[in-house]
Amino acid sequence: MISWLEKIGHRAIEVLKKVGEASLLFSQALRWTFMPPVYFKNIIQQMEVIGVQSIPVVLITSLSTGLVLALQSYTGFKRFHAENLVGTVVALSLTRELGPVLTGLIVAGRAGAAMAAELGTMRVTEQIDALSTLAVNPVKYLIIPRLFAGLIMLPILTVFADMIGIVGGYFISVQYLQANPVIYIRRTTEFLEANDIFGGLLKACVFGILISVVCSYKGFNTEGGAVGVGKATTGAVVISMILILVSDYFLTMLLFKQ
């Protein structure tokens, strides 16, 4: 019994220690963000890796979600003659919830894994130490560009995801389910408020920072060669995804509780 309690206590201390270290890394990054030099080239590179390269998979996922959501909503709503609300449901679901969350999960799996693996490899091959020996701050050079890229690109990807999902919903409703296009568009725009879109984008900003901080932290603190890089990458993706889902609940409470 005591050994079990010891194990749980030990684990809890480990987790708290890591949360503290990640917070410290984030606060260091914030402090150095406002000190020169700014590595614009690295920020642009990371925006490409995190954002531009994620566009195809985000679009495919979101289009598929929009199509399925419209189809499911239609068949469900038909039971109580509310088919004309499909456009509203698709638009609200995507902008408030599915757009930012799916984008976050995709970026965590794709770019977050790459981020942790790249930084992890740099750590175990002493490239991060080499940066320090060349009098370059590794947090400034490696982590701040990733933070900026996450913060900027997640909302942009979410806008794409929202748009393509709504277009997909429109397409399936109008072309396949024979919904009236005028009513569909009116229902979509009538109930969609700016707060729905901006709330969703705010969520995306938070997810972007979470992914960058977690994946950078895991990569930056990798130990133990190739096995360590593998562990860091898996850990980074799993923790990012869990944090996205948990924070999504609290953000929804905060932003949309009316």
Partner: protein
Amino acid sequence: MIEVVDIHKSFNSHHVLSGVNLTIEKGESMVVLGGSGTGKSVLLKIIMGLLKPDQGTILIDGTEIIHLREEKLNEIRKKFGMLFQGAALFDSLSVWENVGFGLMEHTSLSKAEIRNRVTEKLAMVGLKNIEDKMPSELSGGMKKRVGLARAIAMNPEIILYDEPTTGLDPIMADVINELIIKLKHEIHATSVAITHDMTSAFKIGDRLALLYQGVIHRIGTPEEFKHSEDPVVRQFVTGSSVGPITAG
């Protein structure tokens, strides 16, 4: 001058360094010897300010570096060049970007001037026409030489070598040893090398220091080490498995 004063360092419960004291004079070439896992790399990283010791201090030309803020420490680091065991080249950058990295970050030289300087430094380590290659296209020995060119690109006052000949064939190891000697004469830098390669140590070191059981066990010239009667030194120099130093 580098002064290492009473450095202690532990990892979890493992006490790696237990009070290391060492003074390296300006222009001197010091080789720190020791078996695997004796804390040589840890000592080098502490000297460079990459690791913080639990106790003790490091003075670089009289400036205490342990408690310096990052910005001040980076100013001191500009005096250093370091060759890593695996070269630690940035694999997303080409050879010239690797060698010219410090110059791009810390000088206002134009790209053309930096490229010229890179070509000159690569020539110093015996490499030509590889500026646009990526590190993945280089052999182990070439990587090490590019790493050396990067270490000397900023004309450092102090060069640290982490196992400079490990993983190289005997001929390439000797090429690296010759380069280290050549650089010593050409740029007159103070150097600290850690190694367990005795051939390399005798060749490049003005003085040798043996790290054993967390402290500097013995310091002396290569000749003194060769003729030492100290059983620990004797065993290390001859590479015998029998003696006070036990494996593991």
